[in-house]
């Protein structure tokens, strides 16, 4: 379906139905090909789970997309769609937003971090009747997914260096998001105005809601993504010295443990999840839910209950140790997580892999301020524990090396342990810990 048809047809259907009624019969309207593709896809998911091959988060969608390349477009027709992207916080924000939008009706969402089109198709296929869809989207796939799914809302959380060998440089991502966002005419963009890259990406959006998140990674925006001139910061304000890009006036503001709404009301967040970055995720999610029609107090009340995001932040008990599992994938994420674990001086297990999905290049370990762990009991773990050990050596953090993270936890003194792992390290550890329980 071309973009033009795209715009004329389902928009009409949707306009008729902020109403849920017009939406519920969407599966009946699926063309035969898509319906068959979805059936076969769901079957493969079930088989994959039954045979113990995987969680079935992607395989079904992969099969359906092979059989019907337009499946994503067809499966989102008639639904109100929100797409969530950015470098960090996608899974948490998606879960918070899905929880909040649940106030309006059933929500189809890809919870497990299966954030590419096959994951979206799987999630949508499993809940064909859900009038709402909240989709976490890998930033590289945002143009394709936003183009196919006609979102009512797109949430752009933050952009920073991440897996440079796989994803590419931040500016390339910003440029592709910018182009995609400029094409979205009936979409409200929820954008973090404390992030220069995000602001640039959303600057020309037809409709944008700016959220001041107060988040702090500025190391990828010394020069303007639009004109290359230096960006100048004055407190929280920033502007480009060469063009008109500057921090927009925020509609929503994140303050310490609270947020200020566009109507200047202050609402306490009181989140279950720790850290400033989760407050930022919550305010972004609340603003997005609000744009979809959820009353703000209701949105916050609902997203507050998010406590365990695909295993992240949960605590596992092992031989007298209670280990909190934290996921951090890149310098901005690690920097925030080290701040979270700073308060209590618990021993820390750091787990690093460098598989394809993590990025093969571990140079970024040198961007992480591991020096903050000096004086702690630290174990370097994971498939690339020795690379981490070198970094810790030069950071003068005493440590031992135990490549298996579960064994590493067992070697810690009894009591609380913080475990910080990057993507595949976390995924594998979480699966093993779940199997042990």
């Amino acid at each position: 379906m071309s973009r033009q048809e795209d715009r004329n047809h389902p928009r009409g259907a949707r306009a008729a139905a902020g109403s849920i009624a017009g939406v519920n019969d969407s599966p009946a309207r699926l063309p035969l090909r898509t319906a068959a593709a979805v059936k076969l896809g769901n079957l493969s998911s079930t088989l994959s789970q039954k045979m113990g091959l995987g969680a079935g988060g992607m395989i079904g969608g992969r099969v359906a997309l092979k059989l019907d390349p337009q499946a994503l477009n067809r499966l989102t027709q008639g639904r109100q769609v929100a797409v969530v992207t950015g470098t960090n916080g996608k899974t948490t924000s998606t879960m918070m937003l899905a929880r909040a939008v649940g106030a309006l009706g059933e929500v189809a969402t890809n919870h497990s971090g299966a954030n590419m089109p096959d994951g979206h198709v799987t999630a949508l296929s499993k809940q064909p009747d859900a009038p709402y869809a909240v989709l976490e989207c890998d930033e590289g796939y945002f143009p394709a997914v936003a183009g196919a799914s006609n979102p009512s809302v797109a949430v752009i959380l933050n952009l920073s260096r991440d897996q440079l060998d796989r994803v590419g440089e931040v500016r390339t991502i910003e440029r592709s998001l910018r182009d995609a966002i400029t094409k979205l005419r009936d979409c409200t963009i929820i954008a973090n105005c404390d992030d220069v890259m995000v602001t640039s990406a959303a600057w020309n959006a037809a409709r944008v809601v700016w959220v001041a998140t107060g988040t702090g990674w500025h190391h990828d925006s010394a020069s303007c993504p639009r004109c290359g001139n230096p960006i100048r910061w004055q407190g929280e304000h920033w502007h480009c010295t060469g063009c008109d890009l500057s921090r927009p006036h925020p509609n929503w503001i994140t303050t310490d443990e609270a947020m200020i709404t566009p109507e200047h009301r202050k609402i306490e967040l009181r989140l279950t999840l720790p850290g400033k970055f989760n407050q930022a995720n919550a305010v972004m999610a609340a603003a997005a839910a609000h744009a979809l029609g959820v009353p703000v107090e209701e949105a916050v009340r609902r997203l507050r209950s998010v406590s365990n995001v695909s295993g992240r932040y949960r605590t596992i008990q092992r031989n007298g140790r209670s280990a909190r599992l934290l996921l951090s994938k890149n310098p901005a994420g690690w920097s925030e997580t080290l701040t979270v674990v700073k308060e209590a001086n618990h021993p820390a297990v750091l787990v690093i892999n460098a598989q394809e999905a993590d990025g093969r290049d571990l140079s970024w370990l040198w961007d992480v301020p591991f020096e903050r762990l000096q004086g702690r009991t630290v174990i370097a773990s994971g498939e690339r524990a020795t690379d981490l050990a070198v970094r810790l050596t030069y950071a003068e953090v005493e440590h031992t090396i135990v490549p298996d993270p579960l064994k590493a936890i067992d070697q810690m003194p009894q009591g609380a342990v913080e475990v910080i792992a990057n993507y595949t390290a976390f995924r594998d550890l979480n699966a093993r810990a779940a199997a042990d329980e």
């Binding site: 440089e169 931040v170 020795t386």
Partner: protein, 235 residues
């Protein structure tokens, strides 16, 4: 070199700090400190003049627009160029090898003047070179294989005044055959990792050049283990 403390200039980390090359400055500083040589890192951010009095200059990799801004700044504030005439030691990584040369040409075919510190020109290659690299140091400059991770579009051609740093065994480097450049006390490489944590022999060579004294080996088991792992993985 100043009386008591070796000054390591970290050049434009705000623009050329995308690939973790900050680690090179940390490694130099710690390897000196652990041997009782006082050393400090002096970050020079965009907008600040570049001093010509430092002993070692470390330049890292960055994104294209940042690299263009960096070279503009370094040409307007030519402290690094003056330092080179005073025999300072310089390490240029990735963007470093491109901006130190006579010129570099981007994928859009626009040619930018470089700093003219090494006899080389760079241009955009057809595909991005990404992956582990192993290379044999040229002319016995230092011992052991050179190990690193490359991620670059640029290809570099050396003129007669510049020598290659190493001969490529695995990976691409400058052109698939040689890697990096050495001219006087300027060492350039495409390798991240960063390159000095991966290659302590190269770090010590730069330290010996800067201090004028031979340094004793440092036994860091983690470094030895990591090097062995990386060499095995790349072979």
């Amino acid at each position: 070199m100043s009386e008591s403390t070796v000054q390591i200039a970290l050049v434009l980390p705000d623009l050329l700090g995308t690939y973790g090359d900050f680690g090179n400055a940390v490694v130099l500083q710690k390897r000196m400190a652990w041997r009782g040589i006082k050393a400090e890192i002096l970050p020079i951010n965009y907008g600040q003049p570049v001093p010509d009095s430092c002993d070692i200059y470390v330049v890292g990799g960055g994104e294209d627009t940042a690299q263009t801004l960096a070279v503009k700044h370094l040409r307007e504030h030519p402290g690094l160029q003056r330092a080179v005439t005073k025999n300072a030691v310089v390490l240029g990584v990735c963007a470093g090898i491109q901006i130190f040369g006579e010129s570099f040409t981007r994928a859009d075919n626009v040619t930018h003047p470089g700093m003219g510190l090494i006899d080389s020109t760079s241009h955009a290659g057809g595909s991005r070179a990404i992956g582990e690299v192993l290379a044999e140091p040229a002319g016995g400059l230092f011992s052991g294989v050179l190990s690193g991770f490359e991620n670059h579009q640029g290809r570099t051609v050396l003129g007669p005044a510049a020598r290659p740093l190493a001969h490529v065994k695995v990976g691409t480097g400058n052109d698939g055959s040689v890697e990096g450049a050495v001219q006087g006390r300027i060492v350039c490489t495409y390798l991240h990792g960063p390159v000095l944590p991966r290659n302590p022999q190269l770090a010590d060579l730069l330290i010996e050049w800067a201090t004028g004294t031979k340094v004793a080996p440092l036994d860091l088991p983690a470094v030895t283990a990591m090097r062995a792992e990386r060499v095995r993985a790349a072979s």
